[in-house]
Symmetry: C2
Subunit: 555 residues, 2 copies
């Protein structure tokens, strides 16, 4: 009989930034009672996931152990932490625990999917502890960029764990509780077995700056503007939304919120009473009656998303509001790697409109919500864990964070998605490798990232598509000529004759010299037609298209 063990298993977020989902378990091997921390999404891109709507963690491992899941704890209301709770609710059926604001956002998501309100339980902050099987879990306030962001204090029979959640060390964070070193020292004073820790900014060498430092510079910038000012940030960066709105109010401007996410976040913050000094807001309709030099618009689309308010303003109008020469557009956000092209596109569109664009290159109008390297070290020093397990980072971030830990004499564990760590006893070990991956929300369907569906779409995007239709009569003889339809391919190539006709001629020739055995055999016939069409296209246009063969037999 093996004895009880304490395990940690990242299913998402360790080896990537986004899609956070971490499992803790305690019990006999293979029978551990489980809790899940966060259930977030990642965002698709054209390179690797065209047409996909959202990326969810692959929760197959959890589904197969559904009866062992005690609860899901959500640290804060950012999409990469809470975005998948409703998408996975049916499969997991586990209660979701969160603080008031996070729960409000989670409940909105549940409602959209028709799940019950009580799927999400509101719990108070530390020192309250929520029991969950062998675990007791407390929400320990930590500063980030959204209300009520919390680390989790996870008490286990093997000792106390701290799961940092997303954080920065900020004494004036604007929204959410300031980092409280005394409280943290007290919580950690009797020893912490392991700190599972945010790694996002491990490569940023300087101490992070406080959200509180931004207000005056943004206010000055807005005051300097002679036209309308439009500012964008992540709607979920509620701290920034408030910083911007407050600066705008001080500069004598009326605040307008544009974009659904922007309105939803502010609404949730007001509803839950976590942001009661937000300036009054005017509607886009009322804004039209206010001189443009008295307006500050806060809009979605800081990453250049094509459908967001910022991109629509850049293309022309949004909700009756138009930007004009002399207006100012402020990016109070960092461009996430991979989004540069979209952002540059709208900057150039604003340039064409004569709008002055201000970005964060001066360092005055944006600060990160994550702890830089010295701030990570501050947390290490406060928590003094036996073991440090970096999370919320790509492989390079985790590796660097482990190096820092080891440099300070803390045991560092580089655990990527699927690597189950046994934290029992004094030396963490790899207990098992679990198959993990990504699930795509594609339209209304969840598909596996490796199912081949998206791979086929990428191939069609690269190579175009040809449909071949052949009709065979009762004697398996071709009835008429083969027929070709193309999509995403040039109409003519090297010989200047229509490409479809050239392929059709080659296919007819292939059928003409095919033996009866081939014509009778669907697989052989398909294979031969496909190969012929691809070769024909290669000769003519230098490209081998994807091919669909439709053989209709009248027999």
């Amino acid at each position: 009989m093996s004895s009880d063990r304490l395990i940690y298993l990242p299913l998402g977020g360790a080896g990537e930034i986004g899609m956070n989902a971490y499992v803790y378990g305690y019990g006999k091997p293979g029978k551990e009672r489980l809790i899940v921390v966060d259930m977030g999404v990642a965002f698709p891109d054209m390179d690797s996931s065209p047409g996909v709507d959202l990326i969810l963690p692959d929760i197959q491992w959890l589904k197969e152990r559904r009866d062992r899941i005690e609860a899901i704890f959500v640290t804060h209301a950012h999409e990469d932490h809470v975005g998948a709770v409703a998408h996975t609710y049916e499969a997991l059926q586990a209660p979701v625990y969160a603080r008031n604001f996070t729960a409000n956002i989670a409940r909105r998501k549940m409602a959209e999917h028709g799940h019950p309100d009580d799927a999400v339980q509101t719990v108070g902050a530390w020192p309250h502890q929520q029991g969950a099987g062998p675990f007791k879990v407390g929400f320990l306030p930590i500063s980030h960029s959204i209300p009520e962001s919390s680390a989790l204090v996870i008490d286990t029979p093997e000792g106390r764990l701290i799961h940092s959640g997303d954080f920065k060390i900020d004494l004036t964070p604007g929204v959410g509780e300031p980092f409280d070193p005394a409280l943290w020292a007290d919580v950690c004073k009797d020893g912490v077995k392991a700190l599972v820790c945010d790694s996002t900014n491990v490569f940023s060498p300087l101490p992070g700056r406080s959200e509180g430092t931004l207000g005056p510079d943004i206010e000055k910038l807005i005051e300097s503007a002679s036209g309308m000012v439009v500012a964008t940030t992540f709607a979920s960066n509620v701290a920034r939304v408030k910083t911007l709105a407050t600066a705008g109010e001080k500069a004598g401007r009326s605040i307008v919120l544009l974009g659904r996410a922007m309105k939803r976040m502010v609404e949730a913050a007001l509803e839950t009473g976590v942001m009661d000094d937000f300036p009054p807001v005017v509607s886009p309709e009322d804004a039209r009656g206010i001189p443009r030099e008295n307006l500050l618009l806060l809009v979605t689309g800081s990453q250049g998303e094509r459908r967001a308010a910022s991109a629509q303003l850049a293309r022309g109008k949004y909700q009756g509001i138009e930007m004009k020469e002399g207006d100012m557009f402020l990016f109070s956000a960092k461009t996430i790697p991979g989004n540069e092209r979209g952002v540059i596109r709208i900057v150039n569109q604003f340039s064409e409109l004569g709008v002055d664009v201000v970005d964060d290159s001066s360092g005055l109008y944006h600060v990160s919500g994550h702890a830089n390297r010295p701030d990570l070290e501050t947390l290490h020093d406060v928590v003094k864990p036996q073991v440090l397990i970096p999370m919320h980072g790509e492989h390079r971030h985790l590796r660097e964070h482990v190096k820092i830990a080891e440099g300070k004499g803390i045991t560092g564990v580089l655990a990527v998605n699927g690597m189950m760590i046994d934290l029992s006893g004094n030396k963490p070990t790899v207990a098992e490798y679990v198959e993990t991956g990504r699930t795509y929300l594609d339209g209304s369907v969840q598909i596996g990232a490796l199912d081949g569906v998206v791979r086929d779409r990428i191939r069609m995007a690269l190579n175009g598509h040809v449909t071949i239709t052949v009709i065979l009569d009762e004697d398996d003889e071709p009835l008429g000529d083969p027929w070709v339809d193309m999509m995403g391919l040039p109409e003519t190539g090297r010989s200047n004759a229509p490409l479809a006709e050239i392929i059709e001629a080659d296919l007819a020739q292939f059928l003409g010299r095919s033996k009866a055995a081939t014509l009778r055999d669907d697989d052989k016939l398909n294979e031969g037609l496909k190969r012929t069409a691809r070769q024909s296209a290669q000769d003519e246009i230098g490209k081998k298209p994807e091919v669909t063969v439709v053989v209709s037999r009248l027999s």
Copy 2:
């Protein structure tokens, strides 16, 4: 009778970075004799041009005026300036003039396309001037990052123009001639009508640093490494390749070149005698016999390109060489916006291998080849043009550069692709708007960017593809049921039955209730089938696929 005029017309490169192609003309309106400066390419991306191999300027306007083109002058051998000469040679048939190194590279391209060697004429540097109709054109050396980079001095009946080409102000550029302020002052002393000027780094506020400052830091870095060192930069950044190789030699390492472009560039530089102190190079085969701590590999793929040497090393092996724990990989290059994901991918792969990656975030291992804002102003001050026309920039760069000019009392002209500027007389005016655009090299075929071919591919990538096959008998009655093939779509959706079967059932129903008039009419039938299939998919999987309808009539 209108009088002669001097025109400037960008066909590529003004309103984008890449694909440079600028036209100058002199003569009666509509009868100007023309010269073209540069004929470059841009690079495709998955977002907007999946499957495309290269992007060329649309030269339709030039083709229609082929008999009026005197010559094409190429300022330097970077792909965005020389990359399209061979692709457009047949259509334009104009002689190409360039200095020795640039001509060597251009001739290699011509040879690959089977064009004659004498398509490219080698000309000497200033004070030599090449006549071209009403123009006399001189190659005035200017520092950049590739040998023999030159501005063009274009003498016209309306006065002297300076086309800067790509440049930085560098007194120790490593390769190519140092910037020579005295020579430039002399050339410009009698007045310059217009400076057409690189704008790439107009937003960089600090003076640029010299290539010559990098060597010692790179040497120190290589000396600090205990394993193999691999460094990547653009192969066409010949200055950097030399800086790296020299630093490696000083650090006691043997130099290995990996990647075709890397070898080709060094070969061309040695062949033309513009880089005679390049360290000796060992082959990848011989490198295997040398201890890894004595090796410096210079490899292609600084932008994370999947097929380049760096990406292959990150995935495992390249030409028998493998990277190992403790090796170092240096990015001596900037990541071009849009390439971040590819670069991050290989950084993480190296991290998994235990390879330490050093990038340019310290500012020690890379400097730009373009003039920063103060250096642009230096050139303005030396040239003292009446008019400044920014080029080689997106709209935002051109706009900012115009602002700088106007701030100094120089007339600034914001001319984007297709905007023909009349430079005659004392005040530049817009003479005409010319249709311009992009031509895609797609496999072996050139297609218009707006032909719809690539748009269809993008749609298939986003929405998947459905083929519908229907056979109608002699009486226009369906023979059997409609048939559906899918590509890039999930097999099942909401109802858990196979999606293809659900669509087929809906199509059968549609055919069943279609009147004879519809069944007889190809357009109506196609339209109805397509609409039915898309709606059926929307209900089932929340996505409307692209559809190819094949109706076969046995009549």
